[in-house]
Each structure stands twice: as C-alpha cells, then as structure tokens.
Amino acid sequence: MKEVIGVFMTIAVLSLALLAQLQAQGGVSQIQVGGSPTVPDNLVTSQPIPRLPDGHVDITGPWVGGGSNGDIERDGGLKPGELPLLPWAKELRDKRLEKDEPYTACLPMSVPRVNPYPWKFALSYTAKGLSHIYVLHETGDAGAHRVVYMDGRPHPPDPIPTWWGHSTGRFEKDTLVIDTIGYNDKFWFDSRGTPHTEQLHTVERWTRINWGRITNDFLLDDPGAFSRPVNLKFQGRLLRPDLKTGGGELMEFICLEGNEYGAAAGFVPGQGTSIK
C-alpha cells in the first residue's frame, strides 16, 4: 500500500512540476487542442468581457472547442452509458468504424461538433440591426458556412434536410440562444459514431462567462434516436489574440486540398454517411 501511495505521490509531484513548467512557457499546454493556442486559465479574467455598440456581449471569438469531437457523451459531461440512445442507435454507434466518419472526408461536422481548430460567430448587421450570425469554422466544414437567422423569422414548416439545418437565434440577456431543426442524418456527433435522425432538434445557449471562455449549454432532442431529450455542457476557449500565434484570426484551410487520410492503411475514408 505504501508503494502505491509513493507512486501516486511521485506522479502527482511530477504532474505539478510539469504544470508549473508549462505555465512558465506561456501557456503552451493549449497544444492539446490541436495546436491552436488559447488563453490559459490564469488569464481568462485578465480583461473585461467586451461589449458591442448595440450593448450585446461580443461573442465573436475565435473560439477553440465548445462542442463534441471524440465522444459526445464524455465531452458533454456525462458518464459512460448515460447518453439515452435508443437500442438501434447504440447498436449502430458500436458498429461504426472511425475511418468511416464523414468528417474525415472533409464533409461538415455540423452541430454540436467542433474539431481542434478555431471557429467564430461572425455577426452581420444591416440597417435593421443584427440580421444574421454566420458560424465560421476554420476547417471541417468543406468551405460551408452555417447561417443563424436573427431577424425573427420562424422555421420553415417542412424544411428539406441539410447538413447544418435551419437555425434561428435570439439574445436572452447576455446569452445567444440558437434553435435548429431540419438536419440531415448524415453527420456523426463524434468520432465514436454517435448517430441521430432527421427528427433532431437542438437548442444551444452560448454565454461568454469571462474574457477567455464561452459555455454552450446544449439541449439535444431527437425522438428518433434518443429515449428522451438530454442536456450537455461544453466550454470553448478564446484563441490567443497575440500576433505570435497568428493574431487570433481564422486562417485558410482547404480540407480537400490534399487529404491523404486512409492511404497508409489502404482504405477510403468517410463512407459512413447513412444511418440505414
């Protein structure tokens, strides 16, 4: 028992030493989210939360994270087995292979997925005020943009299913609420292969809780694949805005330029776009 405690203590001391070393290096620990340097934890409140001329909290970003990627159940704060998948959906998830995820063939990630690269809310103002918000991802979207209508229009009654669906948004105090229907069933929630159906309805509640972080309280409602609605929680990190790391801007990323994924193992990626 003493040996176990000793090993544990040694690991703990080494971990703390490593953490201190990383802090001294200026926050390079952000490499673990794909080489996109983000504002470290000790600086998230170093500046006030910025506001726009119209009074809204500036949620622009760019952000890193804030959604699922490897495993929506784990990334969203649930314990193993807590995601209320219907039996057929769980069976499909367990059967899917990572090499088949559509994202690896440069198809859209869709909601709530984010990859390790930055993304941002691009607010578009017209003479009538804030009319649209475009969600721009540096990669993973094959060049597409997601539109959030902020002009008060309703969802269409029977939308043709698409990768990003039909999104309407509104501010509730300092929280941006995005309601989306009309998704297709082709994208995966994560590399694990968690599926959904065209009945998917999502509500994102984005709140910039300080200068460096934004939370996404996420409601997933899909009676076709889940036994009940489920709430998930994600957090995004502000991309470091200094010039040394690219000025905190999105950069060009043309996914289809030279995607050689699969060549080393002899397979064609991204073949899993159907739940049938």
Binding site: I31, G70, E98, K99, G246, G258, E260, Y261, A264, A265
Partner: protein, 140 residues
C-alpha cells in the same frame, strides 16, 4: 532570433512528449503503434497542404533510396506554434521518428523530427499512440 525559435520549438517538443497534439483524425485507424521507426535522411519536400502537412524524407536503405511520406498536423497549427517557410527545407539532413502505416510502412505518422546537427532540438513532436493513452478528445 534563431536561438529563441530553437528554444520555442524545443519547449513545444518537450511538452508534446507528455501531452501530444490532437489531430484531424485518430491515430490507430491508419497507423500501427508496433511499427515505430527512427531514421536519418534528407528532406525531399515539405508540403504545406491541408488537412495535414506532409514531409517527404529520402532514406538510404540497403543501397536504395526509400522516400518516407510523413504526416504532421495542419499548416495553420504549425504556424501558430512558430513555424515559418524556412523552418524545414528540402535538402536538409534530418533524423526523424514515426509510426508506419498499417499497409504502407513508408507512409507514416511523424512523431518527431530534428536536424541532424541538432538532434536534441526537435522541430516537431507529434503524439502517436501516446495521444490515445492520454485520452484527449478526438485522439481516439
């Protein structure tokens, strides 16, 4: 400036050994953790392409030249970590480690690469299977 850059990449490299980068896709669908190799060679090409950069390195094996096609992270990621156009150039002698592909062993996942005259100052260190063990999102 170059010294500062060297310190930066060395620090990044050291960190990546214990907390590897998350890639655009998982490791073990394509590469074999049991096919780890270390070679010396000459850089043939550095391809600044998406979604992943590729570094081609000519290695002399048994009197023949074998070109290793090594995958690293995206051009944007390495730029944000301090890389520029001249960080690694064709013609430079390097020592590199990686993991071979499940079918094509010369298509590898680059674990680390350093110039031959400074082998202890890696220009880049990737995670490989250790990234999976760390359990980072997206690493599986």
């Amino acid at each position: 400036m170059r010294t500062k850059f060297g310190v930066l990449v060395a620090a990044l490299g050291l960190f990546c050994v214990v907390a590897p980068a998350v890639a655009h896709h998982g490791f073990d669908t394509e590469y074999d953790a049991n096919k780890k190799f270390k070679h010396e060679g000459v850089v043939k090409a550095v391809l600044w392409t998406n979604p992943h950069m590729r570094v081609h390195v000519d290695v002399t094996q048994g009197g023949k030249t074998v070109t290793y096609n090594m995958e690293i992270t995206s051009p944007n990621s390495v730029q944000r970590q301090g890389w520029g156009r001249n960080s690694l150039l064709p013609g430079e002698k390097v020592v590199f480690e990686g993991y071979g592909g499940k079918v094509d062993e010369t298509r590898g996942s680059l674990l680390s690469i350093a110039k031959l005259d400074a082998p202890n100052k890696p220009l880049f260190v990737q995670g490989g299977p250790e990234a999976v063990q760390q359990g980072f999102p997206g690493a599986r």
